[in-house]
């Protein structure tokens, strides 16, 4: 039995004509305008309040009384007509009822219709109270997180940097790493900003005194199969290897060093795959610059000609390419030439699991490694040697909007460069003071060097400025209690929401001209930004954190249980989810399709894992998913793996994931002294589900686990790395169960159907999570009227992503601030 907690579009239309919803649903009405704030400001009519009081008294107050105070909540005697003052408490009540967690199992419940109408009337009362006393909240001054910093540098200077290498990881709040309150500024961090600013300014300008440095690009050790073409950017007929972009800061000489994989991670172990000849191909921007032959030739009888051990130890020491290169970002590709023949029946094709890390120091004979191919372990770029200032790079073009032909022109040109830079970096129109401050730094640098050195000093100063590193919003002196953020500030909110980066010139200009708040202009900008490549930040950062799929980058499934889990599969998981989510947003699909989509993006490795036939080749392509096992993100290997442990599935973790991320009802915390998961003899043959019987036998556990575990059981057919299975141990998988409010399912397909019956709860969840991400602060009880208004609107527009994003952009919390 499902329950629709919001009305269908038809019902919505009816209700709209009956009562006015506060919160500004109409996109045409600017927030803060009379139309946006129209509402029935009188408190809810007596009838509603009395009905609410009656229901509470009958079903709730027996526990939540003054005397008992169960769960620290008292519902006895509260004013149900004027809900504004107690809004925080009432919002909790709404949440608990929506999830079906209250009243608890075993206690008398009202009829479903009465429950639905109670919730709706309470929400309506809360919305009206919210309209009477709007509270858009206010995000705290918000330091750029690491991702935002890297993107900002990329967009400011057209220079790609490795933010993860320069800055520490950020702390999280509410499941996201862009929460203003959590992003503190410590002395250690500030020092890193200083170091980063120094480095970046030298790289961007192309400082010829840059010392030699070594940048290393690693491939995952050991479990990356390098038997196929690895990328579209590597030549046809190649296998394995790596391709990457490297920003060469100056014209000069560089060495590209290729090192091959060894049998074990410890130093001194033997190189792999050198029992046969390998041709290594090194390319810069697609042009071959060097080839190497590595490995021992064999005579006609297949016998080695040269002794093995020297080769195995040092066979890759000479794989260095020294080149003169011009500055700028260049694509470096290192790969092997594919061979189309194999020795018959010689040795294993895959590395034996036990060799992982265990073969340190031992020199293995080639016979042990049979068919295993040589692979690239890492590539280093060393340089620059004999560096010269570059004439042109994308970064220099971006920065030097003019070039002084003579000393007399330097001052004017410097000021021009400074103005352009400061406007973009500070995200606002530039003042005379800004320019003077930076000009002083220009002079300092110029006096010790040349024009470029002066600009380099300016860059360093800009990159450490608080107006670059922190998003600070002003509070005008006579601001009313609730006031709109300025157009300039709105532009930043937009760009950090959709791009995790600074506004571009077009967005800034629209804001500076005062046009941004015009509804058609605002919508136009949002659509433009979503269509831009930079919107991939939304996919990677919002979804990656909301769905936990970011963790896929670092998880390590147990190698003995899942010997087939290799780095190719890990990368495939990540790519599948990335491509799928991008397509959903780009094609503006309904949000519910996240759960039901009948297509995905696969390559051969992934299709093999999913038992889907007829997908050949290492590139990704869109595939219709056959059958009903997998659909949408619930069938993605990434999601299924991040919700498991390394060596087994966990219905509890998966159930928690569903409750938290899809149904907006995080389960309560577990008690202390939970006994360990039954393991070892006696239970080895039992399935995970059977071993969790304890949860249901013990009434203390069952209170939560009876509702939590079944949601995880629905997925038990997917093992801890997302592969379909029919058995767990000796038992057949039993994926049946029920939702907290009773709706039954018997496998992934019916589970998805059940989720669809809760689609409005799902929508509310997505809206709330995305609002948290967009605002950079956790949602509070006073945001709930806005969340509900957004959700109603989106439901009325076919649940489209564009409707959700526009709904958030137009909402009060996004456009306004509360005075402090």
């Amino acid at each position: 039995m499902g329950r629709s907690l919001y009305l269908t579009s038809a019902g919505l239309a009816v209700l709209l004509s009956v009562a006015l919803w506060p919160g500004g649903v109409d996109l045409g009405a600017a927030p803060g305008s009379p139309a946006g704030q129209r509402a029935d400001l009188a408190p809810a009519a007596g009838g509603d309040a009395e009905t609410r009081r009656a229901l509470l008294d009958r079903y709730c107050v027996s526990c939540h009384s003054e005397r008992l105070k169960t769960g620290d909540l008292v519902l006895e005697g509260l004013d149900t007509a004027n809900v504004g003052p107690g809004a925080e408490l009432w919002e909790t009540v709404v949440r608990k009822l929506q999830s079906g967690l209250m009243p608890p199992v075993g206690m008398p419940r009202p009829e479903q219709a009465a429950m639905d109408s109670f919730i709706m009337s309470l929400e309506r009362a809360l919305d009206q109270a919210g309209a009477a006393n709007p509270n858009p909240g206010r995000p705290v001054a918000h330091r750029l997180n690491r991702t935002e910093y890297s993107n900002a540098v990329r967009d400011l200077l057209h220079l790609d940097i490795d933010g993860a290498a320069m800055l520490p990881a950020d702390d999280q709040g509410f499941g996201f790493d862009n929460i203003g309150d959590v992003l503190t500024v410590t002395p250690g961090l500030l020092e890193r900003y200083l170091v980063a600013a120094q480095k970046i300014s030298r790289l961007a300008i192309g400082d010829p005194t840059l010392p030699v440095s070594v940048e290393q690009y690693d491939l995952p050790h050991l479990t990356l199969r390098q038997e196929d073409r690895m990328s579209e950017d590597l030549p046809f007929g190649s296998r394995g290897g790596i391709v990457f972009q490297h920003a060469f800061p100056v014209d000069g000489e560089y060495i590209i060093k290729v090192r091959l994989q060894r049998n074990a991670i410890s130093l001194g172990s033997a190189l792999r795959g050198l029992h046969r000849e390998n041709l290594i191909d090194v390319r810069v921007d697609g042009h071959r610059v060097q080839t190497f032959t590595v490995g021992e030739p064999k005579d006609d009888a297949g016998q080695s000609v040269v002794g093995a051990s020297e080769l195995e130890k040092d066979g890759d020491k000479h794989l260095d390419v020294r080149l003169s290169l011009r500055a700028g970002p260049r694509t470096i590709g290192v790969t092997f030439q594919q061979e189309n023949w194999e020795f018959e029946g010689v040795g294993p094709a895959r590395l034996p699991v036990s060799s992982y890390g265990h073969t340190a120091g031992k020199s293995l004979s080639n016979g042990d490694y049979g068919k295993i191919r040589a692979g690239v372990d890492h590539v280093q770029v060393v340089g620059p040697m004999n560096g010269l200032r570059p004439a042109e790079t994308p970064a220099r073009e971006r920065i030097f909007v003019c070039s002084p032909a003579a000393v007399a022109e330097e001052e004017a040109c410097a000021r021009r460069i400074i103005s352009t830079l400061a406007r973009r970096a500070y995200r606002r129109p530039v003042t005379g003071d800004d320019v003077e401050l930076l000009y002083a730094f220009y002079q300092g640098g110029r006096s010790q060097g040349d024009f470029d050195a002066g600009i380099q000093a300016v860059l360093k100063r800009v990159l450490t400025d608080p107006e670059f590193l922190v998003r600070i919003e002003d509070q005008p002196e006579n601001a009313p209690a609730v006031y709109p953020v300025s157009d300039i500030e709105l532009a930043s909110r937009l760009s950090f929401f959709l791009w995790s980066s600074i506004p571009d010139d077009e967005l800034l200009k629209v804001a500076e001209d005062g046009r941004l708040r015009r509804p058609d202009v605002l919508r136009g900008q949002v659509m433009r930004m979503l269509a831009d490549e930079k919107a991939s930040a939304l996919v990677n950062n919002f979804f990656g954190q909301w769905l936990w799929t970011r963790n896929m980058k670092t998880l390590r499934p147990d190698r003995f249980q899942f010997p087939d889990f290799d780095e190719n599969l890990r990368q495939a998981f990540l790519r599948e989810t990335e491509l799928f989510l991008q397509s959903q947003i780009r094609e503006d699909r309904p949000i519910t399709e996240l759960l039901t989509a009948d297509y995905s993006y696969l390559n051969e490795r992934l299709a093999e894992h999913y038992d889907i036939p007829d997908v050949v080749g290492s590139h990704f392509r869109r595939v219709s998913l056959p059958g009903a096992r997998r659909a949408g993100i619930l069938g993605h290997g990434s999601v299924l793996t991040v919700t498991s442990y390394g060596n087994r599935t966990s219905p509890v973790v998966r159930g928690k994931w569903v409750l938290e991320n899809l149904l907006n009802t995080p389960p309560p915390v577990p008690p202390a002294n939970v006994p360990p998961f039954p393991d070892g003899e006696g239970v080895a043959d039992l399935s995970v589900r059977q071993r969790m019987e304890e949860h249901r036998k013990n009434p203390v556990c069952a209170a939560c686990h009876a509702k939590l575990d079944p949601l995880g059981f629905a997925f038990e057919n997917f093992d801890a790395v997302g592969r379909w299975r029919e058995q767990d141990g000796r038992s057949r998988i039993d994926p049946s169960g029920a939702f907290p409010d009773g709706g039954k399912f018997d496998g992934p397909a019916t589970f998805r159907q059940g989720l669809m019956e809760h689609r409005d709860l799902f929508l509310g969840t997505v809206a709330e999570k995305m609002l948290t991400y967009a605002l950079g602060r956790g949602t509070e009880y006073y945001d709930m009227p806005a969340v509900r208004a957004i959700a109603r609107d989106v439901a009325g527009r076919d649940y489209r992503w564009s409707a959700l994003i526009m709904g958030i952009v137009n909402s009060q919390p996004f456009q306004m601030r509360r005075r402090s």
Binding site: R138, V140, A165, M166, P168, A169, D171, Q172, G173, F174, G175, D177, I179, V182, V185, T186, P187, E191, R192, L194, Q198, P211, S213, V214, I265, S266, Y356, G357, Q380, L437, F441, K460, R461, T464, P466, E467, V470, E473, Q475, W548, T554, L555, R556, R559, F560, N647, V653, K656, E660, N661, V669, P670, P671, A672, P675, P676, F677, G680, G778, S820
Partner: protein, 443 residues
Amino acid sequence: MTIVGKSLPRRTVLRGIGTTLALPLLDCMVPAFAATPKPIRRFGEVYVSMGFNMPHWTPPTEGPLEITRLLRPLESFKDRLLVLSGLDSRPAEGRDGGVHPRTQTAWNTGVSAFPTEGPNTRAGTSLDQHIANEIGGETQLPSLELALEPAGLSGNCAFGYSCTYLNTLAWKTPTTPLPMEMNPRAVFERLFGASDSTDPSVRLRDIKSDRSVLDSVVDKIARLQKGIAPSDRAKVSQYLQSVRDVERRIQLAEEQVARELPEVERPAGVPATYEEHAKLMFDLLVLAYQTDLTRVATYLEARELSARTYPEIGCPDPHHPASHHGNNPEKLERLALLNTFHIGLFGYFLQKMQETPDGDGSLLDHTLLLFGSGMSDGNIHLMYDVPTVVVANKGFDIQTGRHMRAPKETPLTNLQLTLMEKMGLQMEKFGNSNGELTMISIG
């Protein structure tokens, strides 16, 4: 710092030997006017989470130390060890699932972490930071925080507790957790800045540049403060405070440039194996002590709720499930292997500290170290009798080469309060302490 009399600058010795080894503070380098230089005291903490296989850890008797299976990796330092039993880390106790984040926090602060998943995390100023506040002003970095696991995991982190509590050991103030560094290259840069070269003229030039940037930033912040909302001022003040902190350090750096840093190659990145990574980070820590860039450090060898597996040493289970051994003999054995591995890495660190000359002895002679875990039996999250080792010598007025059992219900913080006293601090209370652990003193 001016050198009076015929003292050798370090560079002279460097050229003479023709090597690029780090230079210890030789006696002839000590300024002539200082007859007995004030001894430099250093402090460090190394933490391994989720308890040990206790029957293999706890020495059988009190008195002269008997080496048990898990203490074997530290055997050659027996005379410097004080193994303590009977200490409790009770603030982490609680009836809910947040026990792991609380354990890590309580071990170093003596306080129960404030339950929140949001930004308002709160604990207490940690042991190392109290010491850093006291002696950190004398070095370029007040303290160094090192870890081996990346922070920033999403979701599935801790029950009702922010991931922050798991990501760090060090709390500068009750509300300022310090980020821990896991990338050796970044640590190198924290020690030696953006300069790729340790050449003093280059260092000085970069230092001056940094100073002028920061002075300018301070001015700007003052002007900005006027227009922003009162609720934001705290955040901007935090920024300002950090700037001032960095300025002070830069000033110290300028004074210490004469100290001639040794030539060390900048690491390329994070090594492939845990063991290499751990050892490289220990090497950098030794370097930081040796060059006196800091005197206080915390090192998170394994954090609470770690899911890292160690198949290379025979423990393929993730660390957290491995600690829940359920009294199964096979699992207990694997746990013992894991503990031995972690303790062995600490032993590697002690070895390096002992091999590094410092003044009239070795670095180890002048460093007080605390090693341990916030739980004893990780299986039941037991916080009584947590495994604890102090590495010291009589110079710190601490008895060593012994195993002592503290009276029942002695909080770990009593020991930590006493350690602070040995480092020269005068504090009345730390966390949930209720007195000092005088039994460890010699005098």
